[in-house]
């Protein structure tokens, strides 16, 4: 019973982080068709910001000041990355260069963290105490990650349906050429979407810093699980991402408890293949994974 509660609570908490990565995928993917492989390492970068900005024994006020700062830092980095990624797409007929450029950026971030901070995972202390839940003491960061996921879901929903810019961005996701013909500045909006995805992963990496693994090699695991959450929910659909994340998180946590942490990613991979084989459009998806 205790075990089940722990699996559920932590699974949902970790899953919320996957949801956030999935939503950050969706924002960029909807506006440009690009999936940013570096998103996992950028989440780790948000965590790294927490490690660098917060003092060893932080107070809530430090936390409140550093949170927007770290979100903005990662967003600025992503805007730059977006600009670079979109550069070759302007002229070349090769429309898959982003597969390589985003992967290359991801590898470089990991390598810089390795050179700078060494191979070991960094620990961040939370300013908030653990809270009791069904008789277990749960780190507050899990709860904050869930709150963060809901927050960004609501904000994105408002942004896409209520603001002029957000509406234009939704138009991009439906028909790029039509949007261009309607006078929408496509390139600028696409870079903005990279920046927004940076706000999302930057803030989530910061908020979840005490419970995620901040190291040179952990980004890839978050990018994979975030992608799986996005696919489970239906790529491009934020509600799907919000629900898909905890599903993946609980499944991965269950695998970790039952079969050991080494098999967590293997379990996620099996889940990904199962979803792609049985329901490639995901739970709420409209984009088809299949071209023919």
């Amino acid at each position: 019973m205790d075990e089940l509660v722990i699996i559920l609570v932590r699974g949902v908490g970790v899953g919320a982080v996957f949801s956030l990565v999935a939503m950050s995928f969706n924002v960029v993917c909807n506006s440009s068709g690009i999936l940013n492989f570096a998103q996992g390492n950028l989440l780790v970068m948000g965590g790294l910001c927490a490690y660098l900005l917060l003092p060893g024994d932080p107070e809530p006020i430090h936390w409140l000041v550093s949170l927007p700062l770290s979100a903005l830092l990662v967003a600025a980095f992503l805007a730059l990355q977006g600009w670079i990624t979109l550069l070759p797409l302007r002229s070349s007929v090769e429309q898959h260069s982003w597969l390589i450029t985003t992967m290359a950026v991801s590898v470089m971030i990991g390598a810089v963290i390795l050179v700078w901070q060494g191979p070991f995972a960094l620990n961040v202390r939370s300013p908030f105490p653990n809270f009791p839940l069904f008789g277990t003491r749960t780190p507050m960061s899990y709860l904050l990650a869930v709150a963060c996921a809901v927050f960004w879901y609501v904000v994105l929903r408002w942004f896409h349906s209520r603001t002029q810019t957000g509406l234009a961005m939704s138009a991009l996701s439906q028909d790029l050429d039509a949007a261009r013909a309607a006078g929408i500045q496509v390139r600028r909006l696409q870079i903005l979407s990279f920046a927004i995805s940076g706000l999302i992963v930057g803030s989530s990496g910061f908020v979840a810093a005490p419970v995620i693994k901040i190291s040179a090699d952990s980004g890839i695991s978050y990018v994979l699980n975030g992608f799986i959450a996005a696919v489970v929910g239906g790529l491009g659909n934020n509600l799907g991402a919000l629900i898909g994340g905890p599903l993946v998180g609980v499944a991965a946590m269950f695998a970790a408890f039952r079969f050991g942490g080494q098999l967590q990613n293997a379990f996620s991979l099996a889940l990904l293949i199962a979803v792609l084989m049985l329901r490639p459009q995901g739970l709420f998806g409209r984009m088809a994974a299949r071209r023919v």
Binding site: V107, Q262, L263, L272, L276, P280
Partner: protein
Amino acid sequence: MSEAAANLAPAGQVSRPPGIVDRELCLGIAIIAIAILIPSLAGSIYWTYTVLLLGLYVTVAVLQNMLLGDAGQVSFGQGAVFGVAAYTCGIMAGMHGYGFATSLLFGIPAGILVGSLFALPALRVQGYYLGFVTLSAAVVFPELLVAFNDYTNGINGIRVNVPALNRPFFAGITPLCVIVFLLAAGALVLHAWLRRQRLGQRMVIAAASPEAAMTLGFSPGHVRSAAFVIAAVGTAMAGALYVPLVGFVSPSAFHVELSIFFFFSVIVGGQGRLIGPIAGVAVLYLLPNALLVDLVQYRLLGYGAVALLIMLLFPDGIVGTIAKRLGAGRPGAEFGELALAMPNSALATAARPGLAVDIADARKTYGKLAALDGVNLQVRAGSIHGLVGPNGSGKTTLLNAISGFIALDSGRIAALGRDTTSQAAWRTARLGIGRTFQTPRVFDALSIRENIEVAAAGPLQLPEAWTAAKPDQLPHAQRRLLEVLRVVASNAELLLLDEPAAGLSPAERRDFAQLLRTLRDRLGKTIVFVEHDLALVWRVADQITVLDAGRVIADGKPADIVAEKHVRALFTGAADA
């Protein structure tokens, strides 16, 4: 007849411009030979080892190049295939005491099995989906090695000595040197050879356009699977040879970085270029190692930075950019004239009595929209049949239904005397039903000649100028014509053409009308075509069907239906537009 067209057997008459590829191939083999010979003869153990390791990496990268550049399959997991073969050999030889030769019997099939498994998701998903699945496999593989440490010796790894392969038999040259050379050079030869085969060309087509592949009568999934299996065979062999070369396997040697290294090598060298992977492996491996000998941890940073810079500065890769500078392509001159002269009696099909197409009560809805709302259509064999109607009236949907790209909700379709109602597109194509698209499916990586020959049933007499010229030099309208020629060359009896004349000049339209008549009268083809140029349709068609909102509103000979009210509205509507 068209069964022969769809046969996967290699066609001897398919030819590439001689010289270019062969020169690249010879250069590649020479580079590998010299790179292995010099350090062996000089007696440098370190450099012999490094070069042999690079030889194995080149083998994997060459096959990855085939997989990505030709077959268009994004696999980030080739390192896992390599690793599975190496580890299986290591386990059999190092932990269970089998000889290395025996361990190969386990290792190579194990690698091939894993590589072939990648083909399974590739049947369902493409592009970054496939990239993520294979990437996950590459991440998971070393984790599994650690998790099942009872069987794999975990992070301690396995030591294997194979002295027989490492003993020099002549001036520092070991049997392993010879084997690695044969493997790497063999991978290059295989790639060059494959490109001249029908299978290789089909990979290019399936990658560029699955729809076109199906129109030409083959399943893109089968071709993709073949590419994965071929790549897996060579990759597994290279993986197995890692064991005697390094003498030690451990999980850290097969991390996801290895797979990314293989992928980047292809891109940096020049995707699709035969010797690109040699340049890519050399630059990515040697540059960081030579410049930063003491700082191994900077190597990853080097991979990433080099790949990023190459992609931004030389999107065609090292070899691709050099080749582009050296030789620019010649324009495909007078394509139009030559094209109209191409159809000859060798391509004739026997006349068939009766109906070529018979559609009864075809219905298809998309959501609430009825694209086909009870359509009946009869097309006489050996006739030219025009389909006209406003945008969204169901013309293209009807062509899609006949050629098997969509399944009807209800109703029946018979084509060329067979019931094709629920047949897959590539099967329909094999019956002798050819199809062109509004956006021409032309393969820029192939020459104009190859674009036609890829569908050909037999040897063709084609103009010399088409052997080297690439279709990317043709204007849009002529690309459309090229697609028509390809369908004609496939010996299809029934040609379904979707707006074939769009973008042609008035003079070209007259020629095109003549081409359609030639196809009907001299070659006995049946032609169904969708066209917005009503004057052209009325001039050339024997029978015309007018569609509106998924229904047939007029059907008959051009002179008979021109007076009908619906049809007149169509003309005036077109005049208003």
